[in-house]
Amino acid sequence: MIQPVRAVVWLVEGTWQGCLDAAAKILPRDAQVALLHVTPSDVGEITEAATTGLLGRASRAHRSTGHFEEVADEEASEILQAAAKRLGRENTELVHRRGRVEREVVSAVADGVDLLVVARDGDRSRLGPHSLGHPTRFIVDHAPCPVLLVWPDEAPGIESIPPPPPGHHPRPNGPHRESP
């Protein structure tokens, strides 16, 4: 008997709806889907670094992140609930993790997952090697399973590719042949 596909869909603020819709279009109906959200831990570290830099204010420094972590956790579970509703399938698992985002995502697919669905974030105005965000780039490089990179909205046409640089003359047609 063929096992159903096990897929993880990584959801991030700003792109999650588009990512989910693209995943729904591609994943088979019987796929076991896990929706994953990771709350980044480094936001707290940034503010901790800033308060440590303020020498002498230790007695007040505990305030620096306030309720951020609680609120971020609440909103993460809201996003996951909303995503499950939008997907509208049974057998949907909700996974909320906290930590270094890229590492958490990779470790979430370490165990027998068939497909990881990731939305392209990045700069739509200049597509190219640097147009993937750092976590996405890391995940594409290190995920131990196939990664499906989807556009969170309409895919750009190929006319968005800039013309080749001057002096670049690819052969007009056919495969490159070694000259004898």
Binding site: V12, E13, G14, T15, Q17, P40, S41, D42, V43, E45, I46, T47, A49, A50, T51, T52, G53, L54, L55, G56, R57, A58, S59, R60, A61, R63, S64, T65, G66, H67, F68, V71, A72, E75, E78, I79, G99, R100, D121, G122, D123, S131, L132, G133, H134, T136, P152
Partner: protein, 416 residues
């Protein structure tokens, strides 16, 4: 005591004080380590009593000014000014992350300039972070905007940063003149931060918030009016040759008294917002640094700080100050550089400030301390901070130093 031994002892105690202030063994306040260091230097005669007295007398008004600003900012928090700013940013952004970042820039720059960098880091940043989380947008660019602007947008007024307060007295400038000269460098720093952060976080400034802002905007009119009047008071005081610290004191008292009467705050809260351990730390650190500069280091510093206000020497001063701030933290850096800078004139003092205020965005804590701090984090089993803030520091700090110092140079020629 022979000078080389005295100098070595003073430097060792300064480094130990800074190390303890960052690592904070047993979680004790920083003053617990700084005060014994100062006392030891006094007891051993490394710092003569007369010199210590003179230094304490010159620091006291600054510490008083700082205390008033701390209470003023804390009162603004109690009156809900920062909460209101959060709601205003959320509503004004219309859910667009780039618009939100722009509003965070405006609020963080103004708060830093008027209420000081402590207010931005300790009071505004938590509000910004929860606002972003509620909007379900990515928090990182906004977190960096707050921590970066707390440093680089603290150039404008003497109250914006403790380093400015220390330099303000030494510079001999009036409050209004300080602000007039630093307006251009301040704007330059903010503009550079905007261009770089907008580009650096382009992949995180995506999407649009799908949530509604739940809380209606309620501006605390009384607190806003008091802050505005305090700001006017700073300039009026400077025209009347009155210490502008009194304007800050006036603002703090005007907010504190009704807060106490209406039980918005207890007397204990005001005591806490005064942050006596911090004020004590500043005094003690001032004495330790004085001991260091008495024994030979001051002459070295004089060589490091070029005289004159040509563009080249201003740039060199800002660079030296930034390097020193990144080696040992900006508070001791400014204390060390000030005597020589003050002798070279107000232009040089302001260039030092550009270096020590914008410089820390490279390592935040100073590199000596950063090494130590990383060890502390590792011991606590926490993640080490990513290389990200170093990378961001490398692309923001040099252009901020450059453009702000060029702006200072132009400003000195325009305002004189």
């Amino acid at each position: 005591m022979p000078s080389p031994i005295a100098e070595t002892l003073a430097v060792v105690l300064l480094v130990a004080t800074l190390a303890c202030a960052v690592a904070r063994p047993r979680g004790w306040p920083e003053a617990v380590f700084a005060v014994p260091a100062a006392v030891l230097l006094l007891a051993l005669g490394v710092l003569p009593l007369s010199q210590a007295g003179a230094e304490a007398r010159s620091l006291a008004p600054t510490v008083g000014f700082l205390a008033a600003v701390l209470v003023l900012a804390d009162m603004c928090d109690r009156y809900g000014l920062f909460e209101a700013a959060g709601t205003w940013m959320a509503t004004g952004s219309r859910g667009r992350p780039v618009t939100l970042l722009a509003l965070v820039f405006v609020v963080a720059s103004v708060v830093t300039a008027v209420l000081g960098l402590d207010a931005t880091v300790l009071l505004l940043t938590p509000v910004v972070l929860t606002t972003v989380a509620r909007l379900r947008l990515r928090a990182k660019p906004h977190a960096y905007a707050c921590t970066h602007l707390a440093n680089s947008a603290s150039l404008l007024l003497p109250v914006s940063n403790l380093t400015n307060l220390l330099a303000f007295r030494a510079s001999g400038l009036s409050f209004a003149r300080f602000g007039a000269i630093m307006a251009l460098p301040w704007l330059a720093a903010i503009a550079v931060e905007w261009v770089v952060l907008r580009r650096f976080f382009v992949t995180d400034l995506v999407g649009r918030s799908e949530t509604e802002v739940a809380t209606p905007l309620r501006i605390p009119v009384f607190a806003s009016a008091v802050v505005a009047l305090t700001l006017v008071g700073f300039f009026v005081a400077s025209v009347l040759h009155v210490n502008p610290a009194f304007a800050a004191l006036g603002g703090a008292v005007t907010l504190a008294v009704p807060a106490l009467v209406r039980r918005r705050a207890k007397l204990r809260d005001i005591g806490l917002s005064l942050d006596v351990p911090f004020l004590t730390f500043v005094l003690a650190l001032g004495l330790v640094v004085k001991a260091v500069s008495l024994h030979g280091l001051s002459s070295l510093v004089v060589h490091l700080v070029p005289n004159g206000t040509s563009l080249g020497s201003l740039l060199l001063v800002a660079a030296v100050a930034a390097v020193l701030a990144n080696l040992i933290n900006n508070l001791p850096a400014v204390l060390l550089l000030l005597p020589a800078a003050a002798a070279a004139g107000p232009g040089v003092v302001l260039a030092v400030l550009i270096g020590v205020n914008a410089g820390p965005n490279l390592t935040y804590v100073g590199s000596l301390a950063t090494l130590l701090w990383r060890r502390v984090l590792r011991k606590r089993g926490e993640d080490l901070p990513t290389s990200e803030f170093l990378r961001l520091g490398v692309v923001t700090v040099p252009p901020v130093l450059l453009t702000s110092t060029v702006a200072l140079w132009a400003s000195l020629r325009l305002v004189g």
